[in-house]
Amino acid sequence: MMLAALDAFARERGLADDPLYETRPVDFRIRLGAKGEFLGLESTQDERGKGMPLLIPRIPQRRVNIASGFLVDNPKYVLSHDVDEPSAREGKAAKGPARFAAFLAMVQEALAACGAPELRAVEAFLLNEEARAKVVAARNPEDWNGSELLAFVVGDAAGPVHQHPAIREWWERRGKEQSAQGRVGLCLVTGTSGVLAETHFVLKNVPNAQPAGAALVSFNAPAFESHKLKQGGNAPVSQSAALGYVLALNDLLRKSEERRYRQGIQVGEDSVLVFWTNSTAQEESLLLSWMDPSEADLRRFLEAPFRGLEPSELDTRSFYSVTLAGNSGRVAVRDWFQTSVGEVKQNIRRYFADLRLGDGTTDKPTPIWRLLKAVEAPSGRGLTPDVATRMLGAALRGQPFPRQLLSAALDRLRLPPSDDKLEREQLRLRVALIKATLIRLPRSGTASLEVSVSLDKTNSSQPYVLGRLFAVLERLQGAALGDINATIRDRYFGAASRNPATVFPRLLQLSVHHASKAESGGWLEKVKAEVMALLPPERFPRILALEDQGLFAVGYYHQREAFFTKRAAPEPAAESPASSV
């Protein structure tokens, strides 16, 4: 279904219109005289070193094999000039001559078939080693990097040789003949009969994959093949469908002006989520700006939050998403699903509603990578990629978040903050993630957890109240002692949230001393009494479960933020019970 949807997408957006040609930036034109003499090397690169996009005969798939393009290729093929060749390992046959021979053979084959004078000129040039050396010498030796694309122009013609009508005709005839030689069979993507692909094109720009690209459909070891079937025989896909899905994915994965992936979101270290719809491109860019807002998007959202996620008539169209991860030469699918555009919009809305924490200031979306960054281990190794994938998948599907997120976020809270400046923002992100995870817990059997956006004075759930109490005690200590090295938060947060009974009695004892010392002690004592009144008279709980620890953290955060807002405005922040989400 996935490949079929991608193939359809490529067809709809006109990406796979021409299997014989592709548009690539061509860096140089080699201008030849009518007899093949070298006239000049013309650069088409702009000031940023990018060649001019030109329609060229499609360059075949290359890994370690030798396969030449037709009339357009890199200097290794066109000039037999390889920058790296001298440093190649001893004993390994140099590929240079073979590459050049392949390129020349193609030109000669075309010449024999259609006899165009331009081809004769190109052949004459290629056979003349001196002329080729002149081309190499036309540029500074260090400037060649081996991947420039070179095309030919003969005489004072404006268009390159490969666009000459007679030559085009030959190329197209040859393409048809070649594909007719392939095995015909039922294609498992389209369900129609077609010429089957032996191997598939590669995807570029998938994280952790080989820089030259990696294939999604591949059978590169005997263990992946079955019943003596070879290569494409294991998964019969027609050549056109194989090209279609690759072009679609490559288009989505392409680098764009402001993004690493035109329509993809980096998930964790090694995966990328790409999505597409059979809706419009505008709708897609809108969804992207919500799922993974850029800085410009964030500025815009400040003015008009949630605009664009309103229902529209396109909501019934399909939405597809796939998470890809590179595995050296292959690409693995980590996650894949299909739903409607309207459903996704609703889930994105709910996702941001679930994450909302504190008053008013955060109606703009937080980029997912920033959220995940906040709960990463300080070692910098990140979350396991799987957690990130599942969290994003759950957000888009409207399902519960993975439980590992909760423990990761709580682990981070237990450690003393490393950087004071980021501390408040990091705390907010972590607690927001905890809150969203708690709200989404599957509500079977156990009492549902109600978590509000900001301080809820009526919430008498024990972990929540304990969290609030902890914030008050911390505040009391701060008021009494000012800036100190290790606050009770640094020393006791983890213990207090896991085993309240072992920590709270001692902290309460301490707080009496703090209260007598602090200036605002009287008022804080009153708040403390108010919070304590919500606790049952019996002893503190011995152990809090993971979910309860989360609630503890939320209570702590709410109470702490309430202190901050109170300082700003004399009016208490949360007079009326905040609406629970």
Binding site: M1, A223, A235, A332, D386, T389
Partner: protein
């Protein structure tokens, strides 16, 4: 032999993990959403298979909602070779990703037919029917029944009467082209995979008969 086909059996197969691998994503496994007919045949053959019978799956009812999980494992690049024992898996490692199904629950409806030429004079349908029933009830099997991959064992039992599919309300849900089974190349011909248009009809996968699928796949190439 009067009747060459047996009555229809209903077998329930459940398991914590299952992977019915899509052929196009075989190296980095991704499962189909629903059990394939060939996987269902595999479950039945684990309980009873003789050269004289051939199983035909008719329906696969999906009782549990589709849920996914993914994990990576260290596997090897080579296939097992008979007689080669000095094999060092450490030197031939391939890390592969698997996107599998979790907590699956199916009811397979199937019957078998006697294979002409293979069934002897002493074979008859009733004999194998009773054999299968007995083995299923006792929990006997030739090898452990599994869900797509050998390592995902299945719990197999007789399906009780009243079981309803998880999305019985959805009239028709297309699943795309699905792998049906291999046409095992008899008499030296190459094996080839067959595909069919799969859809869930009130939560039940309707499996077409062999002849129809062969026709869909263009007979013999």
């Amino acid at each position: 032999m009067k009747t060459a086909t047996s009555k229809r059996f209903r077998v329930r197969a459940q398991g914590p993990v299952a992977c019915f691998t899509r052929p196009e994503m075989k190296a980095e496994r991704v499962s189909y959403e629903v059990m394939t007919p060939s996987a269902a045949r595999g479950v039945l053959e684990a309980i009873l298979w003789k050269p004289a019978i051939r199983w035909q799956v008719h329906e696969i009812a999906v009782l549990a909602p589709v849920r996914w999980m993914s994990f990576r494992r260290n596997e090897v690049n080579s296939r097992a070779t008979v007689g080669k024992f000095d094999y060092a898996a450490d030197e031939d490692r391939a890390q592969r990703n698997t996107v599998a199904l979790r907590e699956v629950d199916y009811v397979i409806t199937a019957s078998f037919a006697l294979v002409p030429g293979k069934a002897g004079a002493e074979d008859n349908v009733r004999k194998f029917e009773e054999m299968f029933e007995r083995r299923l009830e006792k929990g006997q099997f030739f090898h452990a029944p599994y869900l797509g991959c050998r390592e995902f064992a299945a719990r197999v039992e007789v399906a009780s009467g009243e079981l309803s599919p998880s999305d019985a309300a959805v009239e028709r849900r297309p699943l795309g082209l699905m792998f049906y089974d291999f046409e095992f190349g008899d008499s030296g011909r190459a094996t080839r995979p067959l595909f069919f248009d799969a859809y869930l009809d009130h939560g039940v996968l309707q499996v077409p008969p062999w002849e129809q699928v062969l026709e869909r796949n263009g007979g013999r190439p």
